[in-house]
Symmetry: C2
Subunit: 506 residues, 2 copies
């Protein structure tokens, strides 16, 4: 009980050598723990080419977007000027177990001029810096780092924690590598596998874009046909790593616009590939922009207007699972429908999934145990949870989005006033970091009560970022969830926090 | 009971002569009832210059924004390609009592080429068309219209309705003219006076922009000082019209970015006026853009980061009221704080209001009866309504925004998939038109219960667009609200619907 669970993951990450007196240039949010040193680069492409030469780099961006993933993947650490604790950079970095300083006020990034300035100090391409993702400090020069050693004490603590806790702990993992890390750390399944991250790979994104911009269902079907084997192999690898444990796969969730090209160069390339004029393509891309994409055409709304996308994904999941079952493996897929607000949305999509799944299972001639459930991430889903529970096998609380809608607060925009709120004591915690128990938590409780009132055995979990936050884990224990799911590197901390919650509420 | 309340406002608007066989070019949403004929124009400036020459025009836009108000004001009717029943065009047109067809699929507007095409038919500037804002039809040529006559039957029906109903009916009105229309129709007060519409007037917008873009509090204070007398005279006029009746004034609500210039010309002008470089100004404007403005820096969040704005508005309200009280008039201002999600937000802003108001009242040496309340338009406000009620004099349900956040659905973006939802029967009604009683309505009920549990006399109303929808009015009657507030032209329909609800649930 004396071990601070939220500091546990520090022991998996390098730290700045305590003998060093670092020169601090500025401070942002400690968005993903650990320290990293390297040369400043401003684009993911440059990070990639430097990494190819075995150079250590720090990727410095105004903010990151899904297109930056490959650069983030090879960088030692990530520094952004904008964004909070659940910004893209922060979430992805934590999932990668990679140090990140986000929302660094005073940082002005100019990628075109290949320079940035931090509180007056100018940093050019290749200048060495060090990030401390635990404290949020940005440090001049590449200072020496040390890597803590895991001792048998850690193993003993985990053993005790595993004996005591009643909450299961799963991980949010989108790749076989992340799944492996999570399993090694003791995760009991995957609580959230986001399929969209699989779409950003260079060779696939073109297919994805064709699918989105297709003017008729035939062109779309063709692109989907090519995506099917790729998705199938994604799922096959993850299922293999997680054999015997449940894997919750969320069907496509983000607004389609996120996948579309923004640079002239990319648009030209795509226009050529699609045999349309650049101006026509630009117009089409423009027409898909949304005023409030977070509240727009996304989640199961995509599945309802483009059923063929979810059908392809379901087929990929079921085919991958059946093939492994045939080889004698135990595969437990859980298909999760995102952004359900009305039971009729769930029913419509569920019916398509069942149709495609049963067909695939019959064709494979095996027995496959799969579940179909939903995210509870909209207030409307929470207050009508009884209606939804009657149809669903499980609920997974998507508390990131539920926080956004319950507060009416965009995590991408909150940076401009949330610091003021914290300073004035209007809120005492960033609600994206620690679950707002009296507001958002109240809706979780309502959904649990309503859900259980119609289905006693309804399986309940949480897959928002709060799944790795000790006070939020305590809340999940109290309201009777079955599991929490968090970034792979947070799994040990979550295991410890779950045990502490069990002791606290014996 | 046999009179359909939702069709009552047809009798105040012109209709297409039943003897005419119109040639229908296309169909959109019947967003604001009545028929209008005129020449097509594509910009508010052009509408204005044509109106100056006494020409009747129809303003055709892809979608409208607050900057278009002056053009909408002089047009006979408004036609938009995008947007739903609560889009900017629809809401403003209904408030103006002006026909509007919104979200007209098949309409492609090209303002630069001064032409649009509707299902293949090209319409150029000055081409005559007719809109039927009741059915949503767009008709070729300017066809003859007739104006229904109000008979004594109408007066008799209103008299019966007024005797029977228990719900009060107020109006949403932002100008003395709208307030007058509302009062003439029998409104018992103003339930929502949006102060932001007052800011878009040509001479004021420059001051507003200076205030927003000010780099230091001094420049901001100066701009606010100039805005103060203008706001004071706005409120003076509205208070006069509504003497003896309550007027609920909502403090500044929309994201500040909405007020900023977008065209190069306007930006240059402003840069010159502010004595800064155009590039610096453009950068500043860019930096204020938000990913999801609906969930961004708006409502009371503005009041908390820029207290001087709400202070100015409070002073204008109190000074205006005191001056009229001195003349012996009975003035009942209700100051409403928007977008409260946490009781601490309410408390902070309320304390500033009280401070400024008490100072103004003392200076004037009169007795002024004013109230301070809040919108309930976020799920978090609904589930913590007991905490907020302990501090507030009244709640006004902002069901437009509450629908957006409860469903996670942007009214500006829903057009791309909501039609699909309606067609497939996933929802049976557009939730922005008729209150979603089992979801959004459940949160209203929760807030009413929680609010009344701590303050028996808490005054409760609704000021979302649903305040004019008969089934939603029935709901408001059932959950025990004190009043509904709707567009001035909907007041008689709301009075009838309120009476019918009272009869239905005797």
């Amino acid at each position: 009980m004396r071990l601070p669970a939220n500091q546990l993951d520090q022991i998996f990450h390098p730290m700045i050598d305590p003998k060093v007196k670092p020169k601090i240039l500025g401070k942002g949010l400690g968005a993903s723990p650990g320290a990293a040193a390297g040369k400043v680069v401003f684009t993911p492409e440059h990070a990639q080419s430097m990494a190819d030469k075995k150079e250590k780099v720090i990727l410095v961006r105004r903010e990151t977007s899904p297109e930056d993933i490959h650069g983030m993947n090879v960088a030692q650490g990530i520094l952004t000027a904008k964004g909070g604790m659940t910004s893209h950079a922060a979430v992805v970095a934590r999932a990668m177990g990679k140090p990140c300083v986000a929302g660094c006020a005073g940082l002005d990034v100019d990628p075109r001029k290949k320079r940035c300035s931090l509180n007056g100090v100018v940093l050019k391409e290749y200048d060495p810096i060090t990030l401390d993702g635990t404290t949020g400090q940005v440090i001049q020069d590449a200072v020496p780092l040390t890597r803590p050693k895991l001792t048998s004490h850690f193993t003993q603590i985990m053993k005790w924690a595993n004996e005591l806790r009643s909450l299961n702990v799963r991980a949010n993992a989108d790749t076989p590598h992340d799944a492996m890390v999570a399993r090694d750390f003791g995760a009991q399944g995957i609580g959230l596998c986001r399929t969209e991250h699989m779409f950003f790979n260079e060779e696939r994104i073109l297919l994805v874009r064709k699918m989105i911009l297709a003017d008729n269902p035939k062109v779309r079907e063709e692109a989907l046909k090519k995506l099917l084997p790729i998705q199938r192999s994604d799922f096959t690898e993850i299922f293999k790593v997680m054999e015997g444990l449940p894997v919750t796969i969320r069907l496509l969730d983000p607004p389609l616009h996120e996948f579309l090209p923004t640079s002239l160069k990319e648009i030209s390339l795509l226009a050529k590939e699609m045999k349309v004029s650049r101006s026509a393509l630009t117009k089409k891309i423009e027409s898909m922009k949304e005023v409030n994409p977070m509240l727009g055409h996304r989640g199961c709304r995509l599945g309802i207007t483009f059923p063929e996308i979810y059908r392809m994904q379901t087929r990929a999941i079921v085919d991958a699972a059946c093939k492994l079952v045939k080889k004698g493996m135990k595969i437990l897929p859980e298909i999760m429908i995102p952004l359900v607000g009305h039971v009729n949305e769930f029913k419509a999509v569920r019916d398509w999934i069942v149709e495609v799944a049963e067909e695939g299972i019959q064709k494979a001639g095996v027995k496959l145990d799969y579940k179909i459930g939903t995210m509870i991430e909209l207030p409307r889903a929470a207050v009508t949870a009884d209606e939804i529970a009657a149809e669903a096998d499980f609920f997974s609380f998507g508390t990131n989005d539920l926080t956004q809608t319950t507060f009416g607060l965009s995590r991408d925009d909150a940076g401009s006033f949330l610091p003021d709120y914290l300073e004035r004591g209007i809120v005492t915690e960033d609600p994206f970091v620690s679950l707002d128990q009296s507001g958002v938590g109240r809706l979780v409780e309502v959904a649990v009560e309503k859900g259980k009132s119609v289905k006693d055995k309804l399986h309940l979990g949480i897959c928002g970022e709060h799944g790795g936050d000790p006070p939020s884990i305590d809340f999940c224990h109290r309201v009777g969830l079955d599991y929490v799911s968090c970034s792979p590197f947070r799994v040990p901390a979550a295991i410890l926090a779950a045990a502490q919650a069990a002791i606290r509420h014996l």
